[in-house]
């Protein structure tokens, strides 16, 4: 199978950055020249890591490469530090994940790789902080994605306050970066209100939301969002897995369920081994 590691200087991150890309696999019975020159544009999954992670996580800790190859799917996995996939203009020379993803990585992928840029062929998913990121791009750029998978990191209402303990300082940094709560509510970090605004318009991507019942975010984030979604009539698929925490076992299962939910049900692509 084909796994690419790109390292290049990003205009918006102001420095070198890494991405991993899974590309569809040539079945052994297909001639290489035919396969690589067939002109096909493949569907794309934008797959985001969580806090503490990087572009290698999903490949190392799940079987995403197998699931992608079975479905002839391109998977793009960027590195985002602990940025929440947000813009941090005051970090060093500026670290703008949002413009990087939308205005730099997307053109790169669509023009350098055999990737389809059609909405119906693009999906975004992530775990934990990456779930926040996936939700953010899905609701602020709903014209770019047909589906979004939000794994262990539901949208939440910032007005309800946020995590305590180890994440309190982080929450404060997030508020400071946007000029306090009011500023944050007007920023793209505010996914909660944006969903309210778009819930009934039919413009949102297909939404898959999952959490383990033993996840430390289950009661604080997942349950309120699920209840809220019901109240506002949001069309989304919710799944809870009994006993799972904030862990890779859960993400390996639910990324498969998400792909299934988006219509990827083939087991025929690539090679079995």
């Amino acid at each position: 199978m084909a796994l690419l590691h790109f390292n290049f200087e990003s205009q918006y991150l102001n420095g070198n950055t890494d991405i991993s890309v899974i590309l569809p696999e040539r079945p052994r019975k297909v001639d290489a020249a035919d396969f690589y020159s067939n002109g096909k544009r493949y569907k794309v999954l934008w797959l985001l890591h969580g806090t503490y992670g990087d572009h290698t996580d999903w490949v190392r800790r799940t079987n995403i490469e197998t699931y992608a190859c079975e479905n002839d799917l391109i998977v793009v996995m960027p590195s985002a530090l602990n940025s929440d996939y947000a813009s941090w203009p005051k970090f060093a020379c500026g670290y703008d994940m949002e413009r990087y993803l939308v205005d730099e990585l997307m053109p790169l992928v669509y023009h350098w790789l055999p990737a389809s840029d059609k909405r119906e062929d693009n999906f975004i998913a992530g775990l934990s902080m990456g779930a926040q990121g996936a939700a953010r791009y899905a609701v602020w750029y709903p014209e770019k994605f047909a589906g979004v998978a939000i794994l262990s990191g539901s949208p939440h209402d910032w007005r309800r306050g946020n995590l305590k303990g180890a994440f309190a300082a982080r929450t404060q940094n997030q508020l400071d970066a946007e000029g306090g709560l009011e500023g944050l509510l007007h920023s793209h970090r505010n996914v909660w209100d944006r969903i309210d605004a778009l819930a009934k318009t039919g413009t949102l991507p297909r939404m898959y939301v999952a959490s383990g019942t033993a996840d430390f975010l289950f009661q604080d984030w997942y349950v309120p969002f699920k209840n809220h979604a019901k109240e506002i009539g949001l069309d989304a698929t919710f799944e809870e897995l009994e006993g799972y925490g904030h862990e890779w076992r859960f993400w390996d299962i639910t990324i498969q369920r998400a792909l299934h939910c988006f219509g990827f049900q083939s087991r025929d692509g690539g090679n079995a081994f």
Binding site: L3, T51, R60, R61, N63, T66, G245, E247, A272, F273
Partner: protein, 269 residues
Amino acid sequence: MSLFTCQLFSKALDGNFTVQVILPLPESSDLFRSTPSVFPKGNQKFQVLYLLHGGYGDCSDWQRYTRIETYAKDHNLAVVMPSGANSLYTNIPHGPRYYDFYTRELPEMMQSIFPISGKREHTFIAGLSMGGFGAFQAALRNPERFAAAISLSGGLRLVGEGAMKKPSLDLLTLPYGKELEHFVYEENDILGMAEALKRQNVPLPKLYDACGTEDFTYPMNCFVRDKLLEMGFDLTWEEGPGIHHWDFWDTYIQKAICWLPLAEGLVEE
């Protein structure tokens, strides 16, 4: 958790090679679970599993297509994954000596670079398909180095009675020659190695053999299993629904690691 990609020089291979090494070092999940990962100090070492890929593959396979890093972490086990090309993990006549490399040179290098145990009771080897052959070969010919070997859907019999019919990949010509003129029964056949080992009076390695019932290697695995059991090997057999596929290997490498006679945590050396 940590993943090291090493590019090193090998005398046996006459060139550079790549090996991937997983060490169960502290990681972010320790913040959420009470896993006991620590950096080894002094004489503390990791128990180690040498993990071999199959035909067509390389040292990145196990890490890319299974969740081996998570299992390694759960069991506090170091995992060393070398590349073996399509060599059958055999010394190629007038070419790279893969057998010498993965049974001797590689473990010596790993022990000198990483806190990895060199003791028999803490050293295990596993592989899938061609790598299953490699795992059994290593343990049967070096019982003083490996305490246990795991073969998943192994290519355990390639010549003679019970051998796999028409493998899709011709693995035999490269190491053994067009007329199999370099094939030596007691060195290159799993049953031949097992017979030779039984004639010595030394502790035998424990063996674990698993295969999917729809796998094209299933009849061959049953044949070899029966022979090894007849010879008196301590062999654990497992089978279940499955073809020659990573789904099977991801499931059974977990079971196999649970079967290994592992110590708790780090070992002293």
